[in-house]
Amino acid sequence: MSISNWKYNTEQSLVENHGLKHDEFESIVEGLGREPNLTELGIFSAMWNEHCSYKSSKYWLKKLPTSGDRVVQGPGENAGVIDIDDGDVAVFKMESHNHPSFIEPYQGAATGVGGILRDVFTMGARPVANLNALRFGEIDHPKTKHLLSGVVEGIGGYGNCIGIPTVGGEVNFHPSYNGNILVNAMTVGIAKKDKIFYSAAAGIGNPVVYVGSKTGRDGIHGATMASAEFDDDSEDKKPTVQVGDPFTEKLLLEACLELMKQEAIIAIQDMGAAGLTSSSIEMASKGNVGLEIDLTKVPMRAQNMTAYELMLSESQERMLMVIDPTKESLARNIFRKWDLEFEVIGKVTDTKNLVLNMNGKEEACIPINILVEDAPEYQRDYVIREPSKRIKIIQDQFDQKTIIPDLIEMISHPNLCSRKWIWEQYDHMVMADTIVRPGSDAAVVRVHGTNKGIAISTDCSPIYCKHNSFEGGKHAIVETWRNIIASGALPIAVTDCMNFGNPEKPEIMGEFVECIRGMAESCSYLNYPVISGNVSLYNETNGVGIYPTPAIGGVGLIKDLSKTMTIGLKNEGNIICVIGETSGHLNMSQYLSIIKNKEEGCVPEINLKIEKKNGMFVLDCIEGHLTVSVHDIGEGGLLIAMSEMCMAGNLGVQIEVKKEFLHAYLFGEDQGRYLIEVSEKNYEKVIALAKDYSIYIEKLGVVGGTDLKINHLNKVSIAQLVEKNSEFFEKYTGE
């Protein structure tokens, strides 16, 4: 758009600096019947950026299955809600904080945790578990070490202080994240089904209350920053990153939960991205009402703040509520007890407009429907790339003698080694309900005061998503499903955090479309719906985008915690069985990537029918107490999974395999597989049950000794495996 076509009084550069396109500005003018003032322009900018409006993704997100027997609340609220029996619900969501974390890793990651916690306790749930999904660039990249240390410290700093255990997560390293790391944080909370709080404002004349921290100038335009690509000057955006205060959040959490017991809250919404703007508009829009706010009443941390700044500040640890006017003083006293701000800043109106006044002057008046319903929605062009083709892997090029050295190299690699260095910096036991700690397939957290628990796992394989977005999308869902099964839980639902590059590029949009299609297929087939989520686009620096990364957080239910399963081997003499058939899929495997330095070939395909059958069989074995340890076979293949079981249980195993192409069998990444440990006594029962299910099962070996041995030829001590497996992070960050 050349300057000469610009027919408005508002400067074109001002509009562009607010991230708004020419036609978007046109529709604002049309909707308002006039040009917006600066405050209004800021509000539109905040609401219509990609982060808040989902304008590129909305159309496609609707294709995901979102309902199910246990779904109490699907996408569209602060977090999704599932029924976990006995009147209890689990409330959860995952959210990205990628852009801020790249600019300032500690605060970016910390406020990511703070934001997702608020999303969950806004719904009336007490948060009981935090998880995360992290991606960093290659380890030799000059920024990686600093970013890794900062992010881990930031996540710990916030979660530890507020006293919610960080029980699990995933991390990996790949050059595609050199210029854009991913920090996705997930929180799970527990509430009573009849005590869930929503954001729809109601009751004309009811007071609108601001609680929490004061508003400062931090984070202004954070959401707009998060909706743009980076370039070499991205560090200059540091002032747009918010600063977290977990102590205040802890007070806010306790105060909100205390007030929620009083039936005083009519609607509640946290102030996250785009702060007061998005929270007030969300409440008004959901309730189909108007709001009138007196900005002079907003508690301020800085002097002389303007309406524009107040509306766009992303100061943390704040909430907006509509309360029952008869409970105002009760509510005020609760917040006073916790030393928090409590201010009536406005009221609910029937005008369906957002009206902002300051010092007696009207600063903005925008019909809510223009902001929300008329928000831009794009069906962007997309191109679907051909999935990468199968390459031929010639058996003659492999020497069986390299199996143990290859195994050691793989378990020492940053992408497969122990994450202990990370999780030991997180308090993963506070609240005293962590039944399965980090390092197993899924974390298991007890529902306080009961004998049931929820199993939670985050996962995604971006390499699969890049080279076959459809299978990659399918896989991301299935991987968490498997992890949840392996811990003895019935998988119920997921949250997704869709991290992609610039959607204006058709090939990136194609990746998005295909990942969604794959995810939808797995979700429908497994009856495992998406109940909440977040989209982060424009993860690009200097035009280079990240690998498509739909990070998935899955949640399942264990009705009886005595049936919880872990990965560690338990007893000498027990038999290890492989569930699921192994063809030896070395294409696009960790083996090729780590040992041969090749990211090549086709992505393994998932047969959902077999996947489901195998999973249900494993769950049935666990239910019947037929197994004592279970581990799903994921990245790196069978031998990596076996080694992890040995290391976790500090026990050896004797593997007997009669396969010609041993490397392919041991390191191939065929899908739908698990390893289970069965006592001799139960072995026949397991084989019989496998027959009933008509699933593929084979005996792999016998537990015992202090070594991992393969066919009496190759062996390595478990102690050496542990040492190699736990070396990387400490060495890397200690340098």
């Binding site: 410290e153 710990g156 700093g157 530890n160 202080c161 507020i162 006293g163 205060d245 977990p246 102590f247 205040t248 802890k250 007070l251 916790w338 030393d339 999780w423 030991e424 910096q425 997180y426 308090d427 993963h428 036991m429 506070v430 609240m431 005293a432 309900d433 962590t434 039944i435 700690r437 007890r446 915690l561």
Partner: protein, 223 residues
């Protein structure tokens, strides 16, 4: 058994310890907000873990000026058993009920993992039932430090409650998670009715959580 758990803004192990005490003693502890000023009728006072006042300024420093603290000190001086766990230990040090200081872990990072501790003092009401015990630590500032003079005093007076050790009970360099002087994990006051320790017995008080060695500390007080 009338036990009281003090709650500060930012305490986050208050519920955990209350649950453990209830499970072991059968009676529910009373939660006492830090702005209260009375602890009458207390058989046991717990200063729980967490991040009181966000650990801002210095761990435990702000909490140690809360109104309830005068009463905690008074009761301690009257001989009522007082336990400070983790942040509670830091607070008790700030009140001068316990000697020494807790500084930043020598790794300079937060550490959350299981450790083994061994009771050095075998006779106090807190330690007499524990020999070698496994329980988690979770802290940034748990590195016990004291001047030579203070150290000499607390060692000489049998005030070292627990030391970090290995599974076999040997006090080794490797088993010291945070750089604490002489592997000290917990100490007693002169009169042996006040205990401060960094490990969390309340998180290891039932086998479902992986270990129940922590219950011996509570049981020993209750017996």
């Amino acid at each position: 058994m009338k036990s009281k758990v003090i709650v500060f803004p930012g305490s986050n192990c208050d519920r955990d310890v209350a649950v453990a005490i209830k499970k072991i003693s059968g009676s529910e502890p009373q939660m006492v907000w830090h702005k209260e000023t009375s602890l009458s009728n207390s058989d046991l006072i717990i200063v729980p873990g967490g991040f009181s006042y966000g650990d801002y300024l210095r761990c435990g420093a702000i909490a140690s000026t809360s109104p309830i603290i005068n009463e905690v000190v008074k009761k301690a001086n009257e001989g009522v058993p007082v336990i400070g766990i983790c942040n509670g230990f830091q607070i008790l040090i700030e009140t001068s009920l316990l000697d020494g200081a807790l500084i930043r872990n020598n790794s300079l990072s937060f550490i959350c993992r299981d450790v083994y501790i061994k009771s050095e003092n075998q006779t106090s009401i807190f330690t007499k039932k524990t020999n070698i015990a496994k329980m988690p630590i979770a802290h940034n500032e748990g590195n016990y430090f004291a001047s030579d003079e203070t150290l000499k005093k607390i060692v000489g007076n049998d005030q070292v409650a627990f030391k970090y050790c290995n599974q076999e009970g040997e006090i080794t360099f490797q088993s010291n998670p945070n750089g604490s002087l002489e592997n000290i994990a917990g100490i007693l006051n002169d009169r042996k009715n006040v205990l401060g320790l960094m490990p969390h017995p309340e998180r290891a008080a039932e086998s479902a959580l992986g270990c129940d060695d922590g219950k011996y500390i509570f049981e020993s007080i209750l017996s």
